[in-house]
């Protein structure tokens, strides 16, 4: 368990950067609760 254990996370991804699902995959074993994840497009 890392320093994110027990935290609640809001993940805002971007298509040409790091998308939401990619962040979710990285953080799934962090012990944090992902309460919102989305990918947006600003172009």
């Amino acid at each position: 368990m890392g320093k994110l254990a027990g935290k609640k996370l809001l993940l805002l991804g971007e298509r040409d950067g790091v998308p939401g699902p990619a962040m979710e995959a990285c953080l799934k074993d962090s012990g944090a609760e992902i309460i919102f994840s989305a990918t947006e497009c600003f172009v």
Binding site: R15, D16, P19, A22, C41, F42, V43
Partner: protein, 515 residues
């Protein structure tokens, strides 16, 4: 079947539409209806750039071919404060034009088949005269602007808006017409939706007309059109039934063409190019024009931030493009069908996986490496628009990912990354019109540079934000290569008569030996 097709011609146009955009662009329209952002709405008109400024703006001239890509690349940063000189700021470029808003409204009226566009009589007459001066606008199109059913008194226009849910059209701060509602209850045929669709159609028509001019093709000879914008034309039964392609071909006078639409958000144009190339390579079509009009809702999309930071709101042009695909004859730049990037369902959304699927994997399959591609053209949004809005420099972010992958795959050394980015990347010059910047604006410049012997190979990359439609969390992407032509190998063939003569000669020899 050939795996190459020729890119015979291309066109790129912009329609300046600041007043339409400041009323009906998605962000201002939403702000107006929320009733909570009056300060922003009051400020927006003070941040609009004039048509003359838009003409002198380097990214716009690069898009329409007023300046070459190399001229653009050599310009100092801060294009908005460094206008081009007058001699490089003309309405017409090598690829197309930057049309002023009043003429665009006239063209939208000309594209209307259902009395949906009413223009004030004097405005329609004046704008028809201006349109008649445009070298690609036909007499038939000018006449359509002057159809009595599309010309009305201002009082009739006001009644239509107030009593039947129409939307005003503006020019120089005055009401000059309206878009009418297409149905009393159907959400797919409201004046707002119809305005978007008619503007998409009209800008697509302009691109197709320039394509016919640039290619020297008689419109009668066009076989098929594939339209690849992001608009949805339909009714309550089928919200995006289509078909823009055929509607555009009709106004452009391409009487022997048919067409269909391809969709995929910003990945639509690259997928449409692949679709068109496959049809031509297989012989299914003699030639195909890939066409897209632009988007009114995308106008001033990031203008909240531009206003907040006291910058010019530059998202004021509806973009369009068209590319003509024909069989490869060894004389024109080619598009390869055997080296296609495909972002598969299973590839996932991690940047490394997406970049690999669109660049490394197709190149590897063709025995090529990263440095074999002279220029990568991924998502060419103008960073002077996107950076103040917090969306960063999209083409730079993409080429950095490609360079990083090239290091990982040992195609280049890590210290060479910045050189690779500078040498092989492209600077964005397209409006944030969704599908319009998706790699395809570089097709024209790539072909010009290939024809001038300056590059041999370019990769066009489009990425689509499928997740916006709430059907899937996935994005999509596709890519293809453009290369310099090679002489076409012709197989020698014998005619029936020649075969007959050879057989007779052989039989005669055999008969001679027997006797």
């Amino acid at each position: 079947m050939s795996t190459k097709v020729g890119i015979k011609s291309y066109s790129y146009c912009l329609n300046h539409a600041p007043e339409t955009g400041s009323h009906y662009g998605g962000t201002p329209y939403e702000a107006y209806h929320s009733g909570k952002e009056q300060e922003y709405l009051d400020a927006l008109p003070k941040h609009i750039q004039s048509y003359d400024h838009a003409l002198h703006y380097a990214p716009n001239q690069t898009y329409i071919g007023g300046i070459s890509y190399e001229e653009f690349e050599a310009l100092p940063s801060g294009w908005v404060n460094n206008p081009l000189p007058d001699e490089k700021s003309k309405r017409y470029g090598k690829f197309g034009e930057l049309m002023p808003e009043d003429e665009f409204l006239g063209l939208i009226s000309a594209c209307d088949e259902f009395e949906l566009v009413w223009l004030e009589k004097n405005f329609a007459e004046n704008v028809s005269k201006k349109l008649a001066e445009d070298p690609v606008i036909t007499e038939a199109i000018v006449k359509r602007v002057l159809r009595p059913k599309n010309m009305h008194e201002l009082s009739e226009i006001e009644t239509e808006v107030k009593e039947r849910a129409g939307l005003y059209l503006y020019n120089e701060g005055k009401i000059v017409g309206c878009i009418r509602s297409g149905h009393p209850t159907d959400d797919c045929l409201t004046a707002h939706v119809l305005m978007e669709n008619l503007a998409g159609k009209a800008s697509g028509v302009l691109a197709l007309l320039h394509l016919m001019k640039n290619s020297g093709m008689n419109p009668n000879d066009l076989d098929f059109v594939i339209e690849c914008s992001e608009e949805g034309a339909g009714d309550v039964g089928q919200r995006a039934g289509g078909n823009f392609a055929k509607a555009i071909a009709e106004v452009a006078g391409c009487v022997n063409a048919s067409g269909c639409d391809v969709r995929g958000f910003c990945a639509g144009p690259v997928n449409a190019m692949i679709n068109a190339a496959a049809q031509v390579a297989s012989g299914a079509r003699k030639n195909v024009a890939v066409v897209a009009g632009g988007s009114i809702p995308k106008l001033y999309m990031n203008s909240r931030d531009h206003v907040k930071k006291n910058l010019l709101a530059l998202e004021d042009c509806v973009g369009s493009f068209a590319v003509l695909i024909v069989p490869d004859d060894g004389t024109m730049p080619v598009m390869r069908l055997d080296v296609l990037g495909k972002h598969t369902v299973g590839a996932g959304g991690a940047p490394q996986a997406v970049t690999s699927a669109l660049t490394f994997e197709p190149l590897q399959s063709a025995g090529l490496t990263f440095t074999d591609v002279d220029r990568y053209a991924p998502e060419l949004q103008n960073h002077e628009i996107t950076e103040p809005a917090g969306a960063g420099n999209v083409p730079l972010a993409n080429i950095k990912m490609i360079a990083a992958l090239a290091v990982m795959k040992k195609a280049i050394e890590k210290p060479a990354m910045m050189d690779f980015i500078k040498k092989h990347g492209t600077i964005g010059f397209a409006h944030t019109q969704g599908h319009i910047p998706a790699g395809v604006p570089f097709i024209g410049h790539a072909c010009e540079m290939i024809n001038e012997g300056k590059i041999k190979r370019a990769m066009i990359i489009g990425k689509g934000s499928l997740f916006l439609a709430r059907l899937t969390n996935l994005a999509d992407g596709a890519s293809f290569l453009i290369e310099a032509p090679e002489p076409v190998k012709t197989e020698s063939t014998l005619s029936k008569e020649e075969i007959k003569a050879m057989l007779l000669e052989t039989l005669s020899e055999v008969a001679g030996r027997l006797s």
